[in-house]
């Protein structure tokens, strides 16, 4: 408890940083849930593939040593594009192979959930077996650096040194932390505007509200679903880049825990509600930090689960309610 009070500013700021990443991943869950009322269990792996895109691109570009955030800006910009492309692409693949057929057949929800679990297995195992798969294709020689030791942690080839830039309370906020929080807010704002103001956004909202009526009115619901997965993937790609800036390392199995937390964030804020995802993510990030400040860091991961159960029992529709369909977006 004393630790919590003594480090209140630090725990809050780093909680917000963590929460920003959760929020961006939570968007993927919230969007798909808003449109299809389905939990996209494979979304965490979409994020995981994005983190690898960052590692691979920086390796490909030959980045190395240590660098300040500003110094690595060029590299990171390219990595961001790569991560967005990767995560977006993987999200589309998930939609195509794990969802489309079953959604069209109007299969029971739990069957589709199982299909998504299968997709999640496949995505994380392909990453975890990539040396063997490359060997299978005879590419191990060429891809050596990228596929070796697939079940170990992969680190960024360049170490980004955070610089303190701003004092809040007794904590010096780092530039990386500022970058993460601001980028997440910007992305959320852009997405919110996109959903509210563009015709694509209107179609998404229409399908979320009433798929049958929307398809009669001319919104092609398959395209809308695809677009929804794509946007979720793009956000996961951004989240992956920010995550790598903060953490610097990834593994084939990082998706799961982060996915559950992001899902919790989405439910916490009100699944299907974009602003809810942001709010839920930030609250969860801070709550986790406080909890580990009070109880010890070994209890950190339990926070999300306990919070999830509590929210579902006390206020199943989340803090802001479920409302992708409604105008509030």
């Amino acid at each position: 408890m004393e630790f919590l009070i003594g480090n209140f500013a630090e725990l809050t700021i780093t909680g917000l940083v963590l929460g920003s990443v959760y929020a961006l991943v939570a968007l993927g869950y919230t969007l798909v849930y808003g449109v299809l009322q389905l939990i996209n269990f494979a979304h965490s792996e979409v994020f995981m593939w994005g983190t690898y895109a960052v590692v691979w691109v920086l390796t490909l570009l030959g980045a190395s040593g240590t660098s300040s955030l500003a110094g690595a800006a060029g590299y990171l910009a390219i990595a961001l594009v790569a991560a967005v492309l990767m995560s977006g692409g993987v999200a589309l693949i998930v939609e195509r192979f794990a969802y489309r057929r079953l959604v069209r057949q109007n299969a029971p929800k739990y069957i589709i959930l199982i299909s998504a679990i299968g997709a999640s297995f496949v995505l994380s195992e392909i990453m975890g077996l990539r040396d063997k798969i490359a060997g299978f294709l005879g590419l191990q020689g060429v891809l050596g650096d990228y596929v070796n030791n697939p079940r170990n942690t992969s680190t960024l080839p360049v170490e980004i040194k955070p610089e303190p830039v701003l004092q809040i309370g007794n904590y010096m906020v780092r530039d990386t932390e500022l970058l993460i929080i601001i980028s997440a807010l910007i992305m959320m704002f852009v997405l919110d505007q996109f959903i509210r103001r563009t015709s694509f956004g209107r179609q998404i909202r229409a399908v979320a509200q009433d798929p049958e009526a929307a398809s009669l009115m001319g919104a092609n619901s398959t395209n809308v679903v695809r677009l929804t997965f794509l946007i979720g993937g793009v956000m996961a790609g951004v989240a992956a880049t920010l995550y790598m800036i903060k953490v610097g390392a990834t593994g084939f199995n990082v998706g799961f825990v982060l996915g559950v937390k992001a899902f919790t964030a989405a439910v916490l804020g009100g699944i299907g509600n974009l602003r809810g995802a942001l709010l839920g993510g930030l609250i969860l990030g801070i709550a986790e930090n406080y909890a580990s400040g009070i109880l010890g860091s070994e209890w950190r991961d339990v926070t999300a689960f306990v919070l999830l159960v509590l929210v579902l029992l006390v206020r199943p529709s989340g803090l802001l309610g479920e409302s992708l369909g409604r105008a509030r977006a």
């Binding site: 959930l113 199982i114 299968g118 297995f121």
Partner: protein
């Protein structure tokens, strides 16, 4: 292919009949009515004999065959329990490993960490504790929406693991060591001893390895396999008795249409809770047996991945059909052991299998007779609808 099978069947049928006739007196003594029962008895005896027969092709050369059979047994038991939850009651439980862990830890705590209970006393306690944990988890969560339930249960599985890791009373990260084997029943040399077979060029010879009946040692897994096989048979019997009663019908009705079930007088929440508790209890049973067999448990023995593999077993086999679930479990547990060289690929393969099966064969590899008919009907309806669209 079909020709060969039907040919075989035609040739084997008279043999089977003769065996059946020969066994009929035995059946009569045991109060059995039809020839089918003695045949089934032969089948069951054959499964009991598997670990000493070491049949070629199915024997695992690189790992102890009885040990593999025991592992398969635990999966089968788990699948039977999970089939009640997923298949009968339609509740997707992604944290089933939690109950498995609770069963194992209960045994670990009272037989080693904090007590010297004999296993056969710890076992009923494990059942009670897991059942209670099922009720405790189910009572608040079974009211939430079905798809949320999946995530909440998954959280439960993880919480159990993390709590075990962080609680010194449960052995912490180091886990619990030296969990004793079940006490021998009868003399230490076993009631009697059975020699194993080994096969060379297709001919069996009697080996010098022996299994001491009802002696639970560390080296020979065969008695454990017999213990779990007996348990499985008892569970199957219980499953059949319950399924074919008001309880089974209430589960099915709840799964099919919860609102209507409620309006037809089914207290759906109560029955969902019952399914949850029963499933938990069977999962705990499997965990308890696992603990006494391996003698050592720690939090990483119960990863989330195991929960997902259990679900894969039930779904691949055909949720709702106990024989399907059993076969699914055998596939999920046995194939990776038999084909060790592919063991690394198993999660990938099962992942693909899950997608393919739910997309193209919704009712699993071994659907029940009813489900087959449902699928048939659905197909016809779809055809009609497609036809209507063209018109």
């Amino acid at each position: 292919m079909n020709n060969i099978i039907s040919g075989l069947r035609a040739r084997l049928a008279p043999v089977a009949d003769r065996v059946g006739t020969a066994l009929e007196p035995v059946g009569r003594v045991l109060g059995m009515k039809s020839v089918k029962y003695p045949l089934r008895t032969v089948g069951v005896l054959l499964i009991y004999a598997l670990p000493i027969l070491h049949l070629p092709l199915i024997n695992t050369e690189n790992s102890d065959f009885s040990g593999v059979l025991f592992t398969v047994g635990t999966y089968v038991l788990v699948a039977l329990g999970l089939n009640i939850v997923i298949g009968y009651a339609g509740l997707l439980d992604l944290g089933y490993v939690g109950f498995y862990a609770v069963g194992a830890y209960t045994v670990g705590v009272v037989t080693s960490e904090h007590g010297q209970w004999p296993f056969f006393l710890a076992l009923p306690l494990a059942l009670v504790v897991t059942m209670a944990s099922g009720v405790l988890l189910g009572a608040p969560t079974l009211r939430v929406r079905g798809d949320y339930l999946a995530i909440v249960t998954m959280g439960f599985g993880e919480i159990i693991r993390i709590v075990a890791r962080n609680t010194d009373w449960l052995g912490g990260a180091g886990g619990i060591n030296s969990i004793p084997s079940p006490p021998d029943i009868g003399p230490e040399e076993g009631l009697f001893q059975i020699p194993h077979l080994s096969w060379q060029y297709g001919y069996p010879t009697i080996d010098d390895r022996v299994t001491k009946v009802l002696h639970f040692g560390v080296l020979d897994a065969t008695p454990y396999f017999w213990m779990i096989l007996t348990t499985i048979i008892l569970v199957i019997c219980a499953d059949m008795l319950i399924k074919n009663s008001r309880v089974g019908r209430a589960w099915e009705a709840t799964r099919e249409d919860e609102d209507v079930a409620e309006l037809m007088g089914v207290p759906t929440f109560k029955f969902k809770l019952l399914a949850f508790a029963m499933g938990a209890c069977i999962g705990g049973l499997a965990g308890a047996m696992y603990a006494t067999r391996v003698g050592f448990i720690n939090p990483p023995s119960f990863p989330l991945m195991l929960s997902l593999l259990f679900v894969a077993a039930v779904v691949i086999g055909g949720a709702g059909n106990r024989w399907g679930a059993i076969l699914g479990a055998v596939i999920v547990a046995y194939l990776p052991e038999r084909f060790r060289e592919f063991a690394d690929w198993r999660l990938l393969v099962f992942g693909i299998a899950l997608i393919v099966i739910v997309s193209f064969r919704t009712q699993g590899l071994f659907p029940g007779r009813q489900k087959k008919r449902v699928a048939q009907a659905e197909k016809e309806v779809q055809k009609l609808e497609e036809g209507a669209e063209i018109v």
